[in-house]
Amino acid sequence: MKTDVLDQVFPMQFRIDSKLDLTHLSPRLRRHLPGVDRGTPLLDVFTIHRPQGIRTNADLCRQIDAIFLLVARDHEIALRGQVLEVGDSFRFIGMPWLAWMSRHDRDSSLELTDFPKFDSQMDQQFYLATQQSMVRDLEALNAELHVLREAEQDASRMRSDFFAVMSHEMRTPLNGVMSALSLLRDPRRIADRDRLIEIADVSANQLMAVINHALDYSKIDAGAMEPEIDTFRLEDLIHGVIDVAMPRAQEKELDLQSRIDPNVPSHFEGDFDKLRQILMNLVGNAIKYTDAGSVTVTADLEPGTGRLHLEVSDTGCGIAENQRSEIFRPYWTRVRGDHREAGTGLGLHICQRLVQLMEGEIDVYSRPDAGSRFVVMLPLAVAVPPPGITTPAETALPAAAFSGCVLIVDDNETNLLLGEMILEGLGLTVSRATSGREAIGLAENQYLDLVLMDIAMPDMDGIETTQKLLRHRRDLPVVALTAHVGTDLAGFYASRGFSGYLRKPLEHEALVGELERWLPRHHLHTEYSDPPEPDKELLETSTLALLKRRVGQGNFERIRGLFLSETERRIALMLAAWVRRDLDAVRNHAHSLAGSAGTFGCERLVDELRAIEHACSTHECERVIPLITGIEATASATLDRVRNPAQGGSNP
């Protein structure tokens, strides 16, 4: 075979003569052995690593069948191959000895074209590198599997704990309800009737709280809870919580107060319901674990960040050091003495998750027997107060009453009965239907102002029933009653024709709020067309005392001063408006004053102002005259009592 052809097939090859002098080197080999000329002795260029003992032609012939391993004396190249005897000369054909060159870090000079196409050494390098990649793949998969397995085990443990705790916590109050109701059936228990009803009521509320905890926890855990942002007034949030918690605090004779720093803006953007839930939980816990002293809710701004800083502090039993790090964990319940408190142990955990949902922080500072401080930091945006909001002295609306005809639809007789009782208690005329078909029949024969529609009913469900009702009368408001929990229920039911929705079981506030959207409302107080009762108390001292407890002594003095000066001013303005027969202005002043007077328990003044307000609304000047004649005297006597509540007597 011609030399140039051999050079192409075997890039690393050379020829030696019988004296073992080099007579030819392939071009690729020459590149690695610069300066080696024809005639150079082989043994000057290479050390023959194997076979050993080659010095002469005869030695070579004797071991011609061996694998030859050659290392250049300058160590820049090593070769492996075989020697062929061609006439009286020898030809070495081979390739780079990659193992030696790699081991001695000499392989950087090699190129792919130094290897014959059929040589598998480079392929082995590639296989080795690929094998290492595969091992890395397996290690990565293994690590991921390990993490997932641990997560699954954690989740399984959490599920087991959840079911164990929930089943216990639900059975306990449910047992209370069932036992109390069972005893109520016994005619011999008539004397205990009120007490048993109270037990059933308390137990039912406890069960509701457990169910709410379970639902909240599940929803948060599933990532299905999102903050619902709206503008709210901070005072409404805090005072609302205080109002609900006050009865319990009073039972334990605790001082429950709130303080809002004057520099805190009045309105924020945030999720009012979740914030209320957080504060209710913290205040509830504070009252629960405080046997004497006070519970205080404060609000101010964190220096530097401007975050809203809410704090609930108490003078209670405090939390032991070793429990403080655990209190936000799920299912943690406090240990007092040698027993563990009852409860789901989810309240604080849910608080923490809700705070985190709003990108805030919650923490606790406490020492045993030295009380506790729960601190919540929230990055809430400041909001512009909506138009129409005037002073913070406006009071809550009086108890609700409505007029109209409401149809309640539910296949559950108990729910129907309870719903009918609640709605009739609110002054409504109620019709009942136990199925969608019955509801449609009733709607065709009577005029309805509102429908409360259960969703899950057999045969024709609430959605289908509603769509049929709306085909009959498009403007009929239908509110869904649903036990479903999920996000965007408003959107879901709106898209199916509902005007709103309420969650079951019905909560009074939510129901009243929904009824207010659709039905005319009137006060439960005496109609103000009649003159106010002369025997009405000038000042309800318990209301004043409650206010003082709520806001604290310092704040009470300040707002009392404001109330006194404002009342005198408004009475003067009201009288001046009456002089010029500006009934609208008289009515507005009377309305505004009645609100703040109610806060201070000025019962008779409130009555007289409401009567003036009503008379002005109906433009009955002749009725206003006797009312406005006496208002100044009533106001003056009332203000004197507010200045000195300890004075007796109710008549001026």
Binding site: D107, E111, L112, S120, D123, F126, S133, M134, D137
Partner: protein
Amino acid sequence: MYGVIHSALKQMVVDRHGTECWQRLSSAAGHGQEAMLTMRPYDDAVTLSLIEATAKVLDLRVEEALRVFGRYWIIDFAPGSYGTLLAHTGHDTFSFLDNLNNLHDRIATAFAEFRPPVFTVERVSPDTMRVNYHSTRQGLTPFVVGLLEGMQDRFDEPMTVTIEAEETGEHGDHTTFLLRRRHED
């Protein structure tokens, strides 16, 4: 394409944008860790979906994402995993391109379903090379552009890369590049 391509893509995203970014991307493409097995061949649609998801998450056009990936491949990924083989392929851009088909031939002995592109080169002058890229796949020319640009950094050879001609059709892509060494004083 083989999973090694997906592994390289993952490594690029993780190195530069973090594990969370990769998880978002992988989830958006609808693939999990299963698509990262080095020695396993995958349908080209899997590779394409990963590249498209990469482009979306990194806020790049797909072509730009491929170009970035091409650079990453030759500078960061391939030397780490196949350093010896790459070192033997060539010591400068032109010799590397000369031996690229040889390299692909050897890879094909291990990866039976490997369908690499073919590069035919022509030395126009000592400092100029014309490279013809033929691929049975469409749309991967930007990756090659990134490779060629990356080689400049790998071999520390400033070069101008221009596209002389470009064709795409049902049989694949054919692009002609002209590489010219720049001698910066």
